[in-house]
Symmetry: C2
C-alpha cells in the first residue's frame, strides 16, 4: 500500500490528503435541511447530512488527490449511526480508488492493540471464515504505550500490506507538554522518531517503510530534524491551512527525491466555501470550492518544493 | 459520578472492576455454536456470542461489583456489528446499575478530542435536539497530545458529571520505553502524573477528583510514588491476575482512607472457568466461575488492605 500511495502521489503530483472531518457546522444548510426533512433531527438525519456532504467533496476532488483521511472522532460522536457513515465513506472512497488513511489514533497493548489493528486494517476470524471490519489502508497510531502497542499493528500490516503513521510530534499548541520534554538532552519526540525508524526498518517497501510518522506542519524546524532521524518514514503532516502551516513550512518534511511527506488539510478544503477566498462558489457549490482549494494547496506545495530544489 | 463510584465501592466492599473484554476464545463453545447456528459464522454471529457471554458474566457478578470496564477494541475488531454489541452491553450494565468505564484510550486535539468526549460521555447536538452516542460513565484517555487533548474531555465531563482516567503508567512490559524516560531526572510518568493532579484540581468531587489515572498493578513501586503525586486522583489499576499483579502489590495504590483505587481484572474473571482453579464449574457454568473469581479477588484485595492498615 505504501507503493500505491507513492505511485498515486507521483501521478497526481499532489502530496495531499483531504481530511474528511465533517462537523455539522461545515455542511451547507440545503444538505442539512434535506437530511432532517427525511430523517428528522436525529442521529440518522445527521449521518445522512454527513454522507451527502462527504460524497460531494469526494466527487469533486478524487481525481486530483491520492488519499483521504477521515477523522473517526467526527463520526464516533454520533454513535453507531455516525460509525455507519464512517464505513460508508471508506467504502465509497475505495470505489473511487482513493487511499484511505483512518485517523483513529488508536493504541493499547498486546491483544488489545491487535484487536484495533484487525478491526481497522485486517480481518477478524469468525469460526472458519474471516471478515474485514472497517478496512482502511493506513491508520494513525498513538505510541505512548511503547512497542507493545505498535508491534501488533505492524504484524497485521505485514499480512495485509498496509501501513501506519505513528504520532511523533503533533500539530497542536500544547503538544510540547510531554513530547518536547528533554530526555538525555533530547526532546522525547526525537526518541519516538528513532523508534519509528527502528520499527520501520522491520517492514520496508522499496524506498519507504510501511511505518510512517505524524509530524505537525506547525513545527517545521522539528520536522527538519525528524526528517533526518526517520529518512525512510513517510511523514503525514497535519496542521496546514486552518492550523497555520504554510507551503514554505513544508519543504523540511520532504526528502531530496521530492517524496516522503503527505500533507493533510481538513476544514481548509472541505469547508473552503465558508472562506472569503472561495465565497464566490456559494454554499450550493461547496464541492467546487473544495476542488479549487485542493488545486491551490497543490500549487502552493509544489511551488515551495520547486524553490527547495533550485 | 465519582461520588457514585465511591458509594458503590463502599457498599460492595469491592474496589473491583470487571473487564468485559470478550475474545471469542474465552466464550464457551455451547454459546458460540448456538450463535453460529442462528446467524452463521458471520460478524452478526460473533456479536451474538459476545452478547450472550457478556450477559452471563454480568448477571452473575453485578451485585458484587461497583463497575465494569468494556474494552472497546474487542468489539471494534468486529466492525459495526461489534460496536452494536458494545452499546448493547453498556446499556445492559446501566440497567443493572453498574458504573461503566469505557476503556477507549481516545486522545486527539481540540474539536476532535471534544468529538470523542461527546461521543463517549456527552451528548451531540443535532439541530434543536441532542443525543448520547455511547454514553459511558467514565472513559480512559491517552495524554500524549498534552492538555489540548485532555481538556475537552474535562469540559464535557463537567457538563455531564462524568469522569476520565488518564493513562499515566501502563501495565505492559514495554511501557517504560517512553513513560520511564528521565525528564530533568524524573521519569515521564511522574510528569504526566503531576499534570493529572493539576487537571484534577479543576474538577473535584468531595474528596476525589473526576480526573483519575491509569497505573498498572505490575509496577507497585511506581504506584506508591504516583499515589503521592496524585493524592486526589482515583487510580484505575489494570494488570491484576493474568498480567501478574497480586493483592499485596496493590496496597500502594490505595490511600489511608482505604479508597483511591479500583482494580481491573479481565480474563482472570471472565474466563475464570478456563483456569484449573475454577475448572469444577465447567464451561456451562462460566458465569458462576466468574462470580467465584470476583469473590476471591475481592477477598485477596481486602485482606491485603487490612494488612496495610495494621
Amino acid at each position: 500500500m505504501i507503493h500505491k500511495l507513492i505511485e498515486k502521489i507521483k501521478k497526481t503530483q499532489a502530496p495531499i490528503v483531504v481530511g474528511l472531518d465533517p462537523m455539522l457546522k461545515y455542511i451547507p444548510s440545503h444538505i442539512v435541511e434535506k437530511a432532517y426533512g427525511e430523517f428528522g433531527e436525529t442521529l440518522e438525519g445527521a449521518a445522512e447530512a454527513i454522507w451527502q456532504f462527504n460524497k460531494g467533496i469526494i466527487d469533486n476532488t478524487f481525481d486530483l488527490i491520492p488519499a483521504v483521511k477521515p477523522q473517526i472522532a467526527m463520526y464516533e460522536q454520533f454513535g453507531l449511526e455516525g460509525l455507519k457513515v464512517f464505513k460508508r465513506t471508506l467504502d465509497y472512497c475505495k470505489e473511487k480508488d482513493l487511499i484511505v488513511i483512518g485517523d483513529v489514533k488508536r493504541g493499547d497493548i498486546g491483544s488489545t492493540s491487535e484487536a484495533y489493528a484487525v478491526g481497522h486494517l485486517g480481518r477478524v476470524e469468525v469460526g472458519s471464515r474471516s471478515y474485514a471490519g472497517f478496512d482502511e489502508d493506513f491508520a494513525t497510531v498513538n505510541p505512548y504505550l511503547g512497542s507493545d502497542g505498535v508491534k501488533p499493528f505492524i504484524d497485521v500490516c505485514r499480512q495485509e500490506k498496509k501501513g501506519i503513521f505513528v504520532l511523533v510530534k503533533t500539530s497542536n499548541p500544547s503538544s510540547g507538554e510531554f513530547q518536547d520534554r528533554l530526555v538525555d538532552g533530547r526532546p522525547l519526540y526525537e526518541i519516538v522518531g528513532e523508534k519509528v525508524a527502528q520499527w520501520g526498518e522491520t517492514f520496508m517497501g522499496d524506498s519507504y517503510s510501511y511505518v510512517g510518522a505524524v509530524v505537525g506542519a506547525t513545527y517545521p524546524e522539528m520536522g527538519k530534524i525528524l526528517r533526518k532521524i526517520m529518512p525512510k518514514a513517510y511523514i503525514l503532516v497535519p496542521g496546514y491551512g486552518a492550523q497555520g502551516g504554510k507551503g514554505a513550512d513544508l519543504v523540511n518534511f520532504f526528502n531530496e527525491d521530492g517524496l516522503g511527506a503527505i500533507v493533510n488539510s481538513s476544514r481548509g478544503i472541505i469547508a473552503a466555501y465558508q472562506q472569503e477566498k472561495y465565497s464566490k462558489f456559494g454554499e450550493k457549490c461547496f464541492g467546487e470550492a473544495a476542488r479549487a482549494a485542493v488545486e491551490d494547496m497543490r500549487d502552493d506545495i509544489v511551488s515551495a518544493l520547486k524553490g527547495k530544489n533550485k
